[in-house]
Symmetry: C2
Subunit: 477 residues, 2 copies
């Protein structure tokens, strides 16, 4: 009886009118245990669902980019090696209880790319040395100034140096090169200067810290450079090539989309079309990669001092193209649809412009990939420009199709003339396409500059390796 | 004699033809000391110049944003207080030589904003506790497995846990909330687990590390929240308002630029015009601020769980407007100049659209600033739409001015009709302006959503504080 009554209860909904006029559902009174059980069951199944989703996401990520998994294994490897160092008696005696610093160094310094790791390693070692020497000096001055002033001198020096070093981290030029170093400087200086008050073996402390840090950083550098290294420079290079391909695909996608627009068919290849959005959002990662790439030695086809900054310029040029593609979006989706006859009139030349721009960018990507001036790029740009010229001519002859009377604007007149409003979307589309081609020319310029600068740097490196020419000139003197 | 001979030498340039055909200047042989002196002088003056520039840059930065200076003083203050803790005997005995952990915590955890500091503090404390317990557990298992397997068990556990924790840092949801925590987890686990092999006082080590970290974090939280606190949420809010103002100023600048375009005068207010570029590049900082703001308690007019994510949506809407303004750029600077009569025909309505869009955005900025729905925004949007409508009508009547013949394209015919090509830039400009107004409507939508959500959260908080309504309903049950 009880059970059936409960079921009945659950079938009906009890509502009550609350002060503000809305009505609330009242939950019927059931057993507390049952309530708790239902709630718990819901929570557990929800949690299980979430955990499953999370694990699936993680698995997909690992499967999509196995290098991430390799990086994790590298971190585990480096940490295990460092614990071996700690286990081995002789080294343990050498670096004392501070061997922990080696572990800490490995954990903190190990980054996915070689450049980032080198940046952190060099910053850490240099900042530790500099701060160590300074702290020993300050400690010596403090010890000379008597017992009463000693804590004062130490405290004041910590306050002043920490404030200055923190301030320097805000300055863009310091931030890009020595942000981590400034933090380590404050850390080491404070610890050594303050410990100096208690621990007499100041030099020992400084020496131990520096030697353990050097052990840690060398191990990191060895592991990161020997086991499947990932170079920031190479990454930046590939990202640039990939973004160019995406830009080209987007334009190509627009080409198809424009075809559909001109032929009124449906079904866009949406994923390709959206590629330009990656270009829009990759500024931050480009900058950090270019920043880290500066620290990397020669690798693959890239010399030390490869013109990494030029990649940022190429990125900016690509983004300026992508902005225009974004604006193109609105023309295609515009509610103010264009007249069929106008579409037909301009379709050939519009398609030619978009396809020739797309292939020009594709060729540029190829040129960056191989890092030499493409032999066909000038031809492709010429082709693009002649397509633009053709579009210009088509636009000019458009006035033939126009109906000069505004009263007949909502109907195509018997003579085949169309009202002015119906050409606006197509004209806008055409002029944005023309603008895109102009921006692609700027992109061609920055890619050529990159290739030229990179070849120049290659020559300088070659000259430094074989300086006979200069030697001869000097001997003749 | 020697000196005059030298001077003579310096007057003449010696050139020599090198193998590749170019000629090189030969530096005449002068005294080595003089050379070194000149080189050194050049280096020193160059260095002096650089240092002066650097200091000026730093000074300007401090003068422009005194909060950065305050932050530096806060770091110095926190570090000096922590050294006092170390100087004081009782505390020193309590936390032992590990007091260094407190210093390290302060240096590493102290960030410019409250949100970022809280994020790091909570991550550090939780990760240290979790890793400490796990490490003690693993150490117990290792000690049960005999002397031979002990290092194996410890090494394997470090390898596996470090790899997993490193991998988790790649997962976006973990990265945004627990990136720092994962690193601290690896650090603490490795140190405690490996130290366990040598140091018997494992519990002491874990206890010391946790208590010093808690001292450091509490101090940081106190200093960051009591001395001129900078809230991530407030910063995000101000950045959004500021960006909206800049967008509005840019549109206003375009308004003037368009006036100049229509009246053929020169001299743009360039700085205002370029404001939209800030909007284009502020995505990364918006995201990190929204991320940190989640950790902050109620402050000012913002409750805990204020809809910070909505700010990201507003930012995206603003960027989509900014893309269009970027595209507008090309119309104004287009070489393909428009005919005067066309410009005159469209100028009034174009100017009306740009000024009404600008004032709509300004009103939106005001609305976000005060965090309530603006009473005039609907009116302004209506005004903007009617300006767009007017522009539409002007465009429609444009066909009257057109010269349908293409042969007379390069001259304005006697009847005052203009060739079709000369209207294209103006038409493009007009349609991009129309597109901007459409995107502003989307922006209005996202701002209204923010205001609504924020009011809703306010109500929930108010309800939680005074839950009489719910209580009554329950009593009636």
């Amino acid at each position: 009886m009880m059970a059936s009554g409960k079921e009945l209860c659950e079938g009906v909904e009890w509502r009550i009118r609350v002060v503000d006029g809305s009505s609330e559902v009242l939950v019927p009174p059931t057993g507390l245990a049952r309530k708790v059980w239902l709630r718990t069951k819901g929570l557990i199944s929800g949690l299980g669902m979430k955990v499953r989703m999370f694990l699936k996401q993680a698995w997909d990520m690992g499967a999509n980019d196995p290098r991430k998994v390799i990086h994790c294994i590298k971190v585990g490897l480096a940490l295990t090696i460092v614990s071996l160092v700690y286990f081995m008696r002789p080294l343990y005696d050498g670096v004392g209880g501070n061997a922990m610093w080696a572990i800490m160094t490995v954990v903190v310094v190990f980054e996915p790319t070689v450049g980032a790791t080198l940046y952190k390693c060099l910053n850490r070692v240099c900042a530790t040395c500099l701060a160590g020497f300074l702290a020993v000096g300050v400690h010596w001055i403090a010890s000379q100034s008597g017992d009463r002033f000693e804590p004062l001198v130490v405290g004041a020096s910590v306050f002043i140096l920490a404030s200055i070093a923190t301030f320097s981290r805000f300055i863009p030029s310091v931030k890009s090169m020595f942000d981590y170093g400034a933090m380590i400087f404050i850390l080491t200086f404070s610890i050594v200067a303050i410990s100096g008050y208690r621990v007499d073996k100041l030099f020992d402390l400084a020496h131990q810290r520096i030697s353990t840090i050097i052990i840690g950083t060398s191990l990191c550098i060895l592991v990161i450079m020997l086991v499947c290294p990932i170079w920031s420079g190479q990454e930046l290079h590939s990202l640039t090539v990939r973004n160019m391909d995406k830009l080209s695909d987007s334009l190509d996608g627009w080409f198809r989309c424009v075809t559909q627009y001109f032929t009124n068919s449906n079904g866009e290849d949406d994923q390709k079309l959206q590629g330009y959005k990656c270009v829009l959002s990759s500024k931050a990662s480009e900058e950090s990669m270019a920043n880290f790439a500066r620290w990397e030695p020669s690798h693959g086809r890239f010399n030390f001092r490869h013109p990494w900054k030029q990649y940022l310029k190429i990125g900016a040029s690509m983004r300026s193209c992508a902005y225009c593609i974004e604006a193109l979006n609105s023309c295609i989706n515009s509610e103010n649809q264009a007249a069929e006859s106008i579409k037909k009139h301009l379709s050939t030349s519009c398609l030619k412009v978009s396809s020739s721009s797309s292939s020009a960018i594709k060729e540029l990507a190829e040129s960056v990939k191989k890092m030499n001036k493409s032999p066909t790029i000038d031809l492709l740009v010429e082709e693009m420009n002649s397509a633009v010229e053709e579009l210009h001519n088509d636009l000019k002859s458009l006035s033939h199709l126009l109906n000069p009377s505004t009263t007949a604007e909502n109907q195509i007149s018997a003579t085949g003339l169309v009202p002015f409003m119906e050409i606006i979307p197509v004209v806008t589309l055409a002029s944005i396409l023309i603008e895109i081609s102009a921006r692609i020319e700027a992109l061609v310029g920055s890619v050529e500059e990159l290739v030229k600068e990179s070849e120049m740097k290659d020559k300088i490196v070659a000259k430094e390796e074989k300086p006979e020419g200069t030697m001869k000139a000097l001997q003749r003197d």
